[in-house]
Amino acid sequence: MTRTRPADPSTNRSKSTGGGGGTTVMRVIVPLQGVVQGRGGLVLGSLIPCALFYFLQLYLKRHRSNPNPPTPPPSPESESEQAGQLVELPVLPRSLSRALLSPRGAGGPVYVSGRANSVLKGGESPYDVGLRKVAEDPYDELGNQNGVIQLGLDENKLSLDLVGDWLVDNAKDAILGGDELGISGIVCYQPLDGLMELKVAVAGFMSQVMGKSVFFDPSQIVLTAGATPAIEILSFCLADSGNAFLVPAPYYPGLDRDVKWRTGVEIIPVPCRSADKFNLSITALDRAFNQAKKRGLKVRGIIISNPSNPVGSLYSRESLYNLLDFAREKNIHIISNEIFSGSMHGSEEFVSMAEIVESEDLDRNRVHIVYGLSKDLSLPGFRAGAIYSYNKNVLAAAKKLTRFSSISSPSQRLLISMLSDTKFIRKFIDTSRERLRAMYLKFVTGLNQLGIECTKSNGGFSCWADMSGLIRSYSEKGEFELWDRLLNVAKLNVTPGSSCHCIEPGWFRFCFTTLTEKDIPVVMERIRKISETCKSHS
């Protein structure tokens, strides 16, 4: 199929080299480009006043050496990617098909959709670059000691062995479900919003991880292929294209894609500050709401993550009540993303939005909870997410929308057996929390010893570290430089605060649950080296 590859895209990446010929000259010449290049055609040309032609001729006489203005300037040299130039500049994808157009074609490029184009042009974010670098050159204690260490992905490998052991003992019938169920219970069409048995099991699991104080009703659950589609489906259900959600920032880097990309919905970050320990203030929320209103944006809801990703902090009971009051006052929705609620490692108590809503009789309709097994059961590969909503209409719409993203049935069967084994689940949750706590303490202690402070965290797989002391200029640029050095010199993939829409420069997210204890000294040593060079410079 080699023939189907389009022409070398590098020739099309016109990186607008600009600058070259002096800006005053450019300003004069730009209106005439059409004529000079023949693009505007004769009609346009004849409309241009003679005086301008005269000027042009004069100009051309004087600057004969200067070739035509910046039509295709695709110098491959400008592509030379130094290590520093990580974020690829936007590319112009449209010409790539031109070379292949058949002569009898109608001419003109192949247009993909605006959504596709926005991503093609947008290039990679630091978050994406980091993940790619790890994929290309992953650290391995024995095989690749100089490889990139993954601290940018919030997945949990600390307790996978427990799940593996369970499978050895129990999985025999978990897939085919014993003899009575058989193959057609697996491969045939199943309810697209998930098997009822799994909803029951997930509801039970949610109660268990969220402290048993809340009862979750399986009939209020819609299962989806991971939390990503769960969030997208809620965006589709609650907002129209052009509407907006308020989201306390810093927030998870993937949320932009999940909420905005295909739905056309906007996110308005609500800045939280280190002075408040990155807790959300209702004043900031109110300000953001009003600003949005002034811009003519219709705000349809608030999306919080509790425990917060990346900060790891929790919403107190009081702050949740305040949030609900705010939502009621503005008549908007609340989406509470609680996918880390089982991954607590601190001393504070987790309070689910469900608990708040259960205690109030009114206003349940505006509350929607996102849950998933990717984090708390450390099974992201299984793609099991859930929407828990009190709103019948949302549930009905979401059920229909799951046809685009439902969970594969063998995985549902396996999860039903696993979650129904309460003894195993209890042991798993306890062990997992213990290991998480140990790892968190070790990692944060390591950072503290290097003089790097973290915000107090109670849950999740990451810590939120203040490295503003190590950046050369207190700006996003300074943060970007440090991130670049961490990735390319120290070979650590961490997430810069700017990727999380943090307004204060110098904060970084370190995910520590993909590491083993042995890796911690290696990571700390690499950070130390970087911090020393930073200090020597300043």
């Binding site: 199929m1 189907t4 790539l96 098909s97 292949l100 157009l101 058949s102 009898r104 109608a106 192949v110 993909v112 959709s113 959504r115 596709a116 093609l120 994929a135 490998k157 996978l160 799940v163 593996g164 999985a171 978990a174 085919l176 057609s184 697996i186 491969v187 045939c188 069409y189 199943q190 292929a225 991971g226 997208e232 589709f236 259900c237 609650l238 129209d240 509407n243 894609r257 990309w261 295909r262 349809r300 206003d363 309709n365 099974l379 590969g381 299984f382 793609r383 709103n391 209409n393 949302v394 719409a397 929308l401 046809r403 685009f404 993203s405 439902s406 969970i407 594969s408 049935s409 995985s411």
Partner: protein, 495 residues
């Protein structure tokens, strides 16, 4: 509470509150009828038989056998579990390389091995449903349109347009040429859309066709490729029934066609799935295979919204790379489909029901025009209600496939066992007998009407070869002693 609920529903999006999910159509009402009263040979023999679901259950025994023989693949043994760690945590939207390789190989095998596929172009998605939507998200903006030859899959409207805002412009096909897609019809629909200021972004074809069960020949495919190339619009080929071809003519897929043509590959996209060919809808494996690098690149990023569980990927990677198994499965499946099709259509012939001659699919496109009281879509709905509520068969009326000609019905035959097929046929026989009586009465009332319907009937009979030869009811197998046919007014009319 009630007032707060209604107030709250105002807060929901248009997508959540509009009717674009299309579930209030007869197609889905039939399903509801089935859900409320499903047939069971012993427990509910009077229940509704599901013939509205294109599900392939004829070769499950082979799959079951394979899973039992290969417990490792589904982590059911200690050895299998070793692989588990890497699998459980795997969430890369590219999919396992082994999985993509296995899919590429399978896609080739499902097309008779006449073409090959590049695993790097395989993009994962949540079922063909998700795959179709994903392609639309990549190719079109809200308000843009795709041409689709009708009759077409009822849920297209929802899958392609609900969340993306893409419109469907039908290209009407009818029985006058056996529902063939002609370049002229496509061109006309294109021009008409253009005149209405609708931006047409492409053409979607289903090959083999759902609901027709026919395949497109090479000439048609070539002319369509030329057409989209001239207009510089996309061609999306839904080939999810590729391996259900059970008799001649041989299947020609789009890959085969564009190999020998001078065309812009950036315009060609294939939608595939394991739901029909393997009968695995529960596994939710959908595939977009695009020859356009941008679509592959963007589509992968969109996969996150409908990823196939890694466990399922792992299991399928081993299952589909087992060449002996795949070959045996495909051969057996095709043989069984052919047999089932033969049994079913023979049953129809015995009661004088004609159908579109087909060589693929899990269904039959049944011609009940002569049973319609009115040759209108309303007439079709009247008959359909009788079939679902009284005859207790959930079949899908042509109108739900946007068929412009009333009286056609899609009947799925691969989602049941042999005994159920017999029950279904028995019920169809009863239907014909019952309708015959009603028709006779109607005939007494109006001879003019009869004349009209006679005309239509001879028109329809051209869709069947043996009728074209003018032997229609004289062919011996149609003259079954049990057949009520010779007595019906229609037969008299033909002869």
């Amino acid at each position: 509470m009630a007032s707060s609920a209604s107030k709250n529903s105002l807060l929901l999006s248009k997508i959540a509150t509009n009717e674009k999910h299309g579930e209030n159509s007869p197609y889905f009402n039939g399903w509801k009828a089935y859900d409320q009263n499903p047939f069971h040979p012993t427990e509910n023999p009077e229940g509704v038989i599901q013939m509205g679901l294109a599900e392939n259950q004829l070769s499950f025994d082979l799959v079951e056998e394979w899973i039992r023989k290969n417990p490792k693949a589904s982590f059911c043994t200690a050895e299998g579990v070793e692989k588990f760690r890497s699998v459980a945590n795997f969430q890369d939207y590219h999919g396992f390389p082994e999985f993509r390789q296995a899919i590429a190989t399978f896609m080739s095998k499902a097309r008779g091995g006449r073409v090959t596929f590049d695993p790097d172009r395989v993009v994962m998605s949540g079922g063909a449903t998700g795959a179709n939507e994903l392609v639309m998200f990549c190719l079109a903006d809200p308000g843009d349109a795709f041409l689709i030859p009708s009759p077409y899959y009822p849920a297209y409207y929802r899958d392609l347009g609900w969340r993306t805002g893409v419109q469907i412009v039908p290209v009407d096909c009818d029985s006058s040429n056996n529902f063939k897609i002609t370049k002229e019809a496509v061109e006309a629909a294109y021009e008409k859309a253009k005149n209405n200021n609708i931006k047409v972004k492409g053409l979607i074809i289903t090959n083999p066709s759902n609901p027709l069960g026919t395949t497109l020949d090479k000439d048609t495919l070539e002319s369509l490729v030329t057409f989209i190339n001239q207009k510089n619009i996309h061609l999306v080929c839904d080939e999810i029934y590729a391996a259900t071809v059970f008799s001649s003519p041989k299947y020609t897929c789009i890959t085969q066609v564009i190999q020998d043509m001078d065309c812009n590959p950036n315009l060609i996209h294939i939608v595939y799935s394991l739901s029909k060919d393997m009968g695995f809808p529960g596994l939710r494996v959908g595939i977009v295979y695009s020859y356009n690098d941008d679509v592959v690149n963007i589509g992968r990023k969109m996969s996150s919204f409908g990823l196939v569980s890694s466990q399922t990927q792992h299991m399928l990677a081993s299952m589909l790379s087992d060449e002996d198994f795949v070959e045996k499965f495909l051969a057996t499946s095709s043989k069984r489909l052919a047999k089932r099709h033969r049994v079913f259509t023979k049953g129809l012939e015995e009661v004088g029901i004609s159908y579109l001659k087909s060589n693929a699919g899990l269904f039959c496109w049944m011609d009940l025009r002569r049973l319609l009281k009115d040759q209108t879509l309303d007439g079709e709905m009247v008959l359909w209600r009788v079939i679902v509520n009284e005859v207790k068969l959930n079949v899908s009326p042509g109108s739900s496939f946007k068929c412009v000609e009333p009286g056609w019905f899609r009947v799925c035959f691969a989602n049941m066992d042999d005994d159920t097929v017999e029950v279904a046929l028995k019920r169809i026989r009863a239907l014909v007998g019952q309708e015959k009586k009603a028709q006779e009465q109607a005939q007494v009332k109006s001879t003019k009407k009869r004349w009209q319907s006679n005309l239509r009937l001879s028109f329809s009979s051209s869709t069947r070869r043996f009728e074209q030869e003018g032997v229609s009811v004289k062919s011996p197998h149609m003259m079954s002693p049990h057949s009520p046919m010779p007595h019906t007014p229609f037969v008299r009319a033909i002869t």
